[in-house]
Amino acid sequence: MWSWFHKWGSPKWFYGMAGRCLPWVAVATLLCWGIGLGWGLLVAPMDFRQGNSFRIIYVHVPVAVVSLAGYYLMAIAAAIHLVWRMKLADMALKSAALIGAALTFLALVTGAIWGKPTWGTWWVWDARITSMLVLFLIYMGIVLLYEALADRPEQASRVCAILALVGTVNIPIIYKSVDWWYSLHQPATIRFTGAPSMDPSMFYPLLWCIVACYLMYGTLMMLYVRGEILRREIRTQWLQDIVRGMR
């Protein structure tokens, strides 16, 4: 158990492992997006109430789901960094903040585009949408704090880790917002308990898209953490050897 933990804390081991996995995960990502989007946009039938605008679900739900799941990963990385001062956890925290911000931004934008033909408005200050906006602001806050404190990396990583942990309060609020408050946003389509409130012909392509989005998250995380390792440790012996080997 400890050797496993130790290995995951080693930038050198992660750099090599991620480098070997990246091409495969990237190809799997492209395949799943291709199948999911092709099926969902062109083959799946139209929703009888919302018309074709419902097809936005095939990007909206995956990015929203993964932006929330990514927050857990980021909060765990933050806790590990605070407790064990693990460098790799800090790199994961920084990478997860930027990727999470991008995904949350997309969830908000695609939601707004979906809202226009469905509700007749781009934006409402309702519980689900506002709490997602707060999520975006927390992610962006962490990204900007790292930038602002670039010359004091120790302090930056500690402040960002604390902000990430405090921000965890927002996550259950997002999940429960559609049940707790009267909301324009429709309740969750997929639940762990019970069948999805969606016909299989529409649901299967959505599953492909969600898997694609998770795989994409994995690809991006491996890529960005590798980049962080390069930026911070380029002068270490093992990376200098890799650079020398590239000639």
Binding site: L41, L42, V43, M46, G51, N52, L106, V109, T110, G227
Partner: protein, 64 residues
């Protein structure tokens, strides 16, 4: 295919701009995120290679 023609798939009975707009914004960001990072990493590695070359040149000049 659910639609009878590509034209219909493009228009989506009036919802085309919303659906294809949302998809294109996502795809743009999905492409931009890895590409900017790959470019940054490549630049960093190139810079480091040049630094190593310079150092080894200086070292060999110092020897002669």
């Amino acid at each position: 295919m659910y639609f009878d023609s590509w034209q219909q798939a493009w228009e989506m009975a009036g919802h085309g701009p919303y659906v294809w707009g949302a998809i294109s914004i996502c795809l743009l960001l999905f492409i931009w995120l890895p590409v900017r990072e790959l470019i940054a990493q490549r630049q960093l590695l190139r810079r480091e290679q040049r630094r190593q070359q310079l150092l080894s040149q200086q070292a060999s000049m110092g020897n002669t």
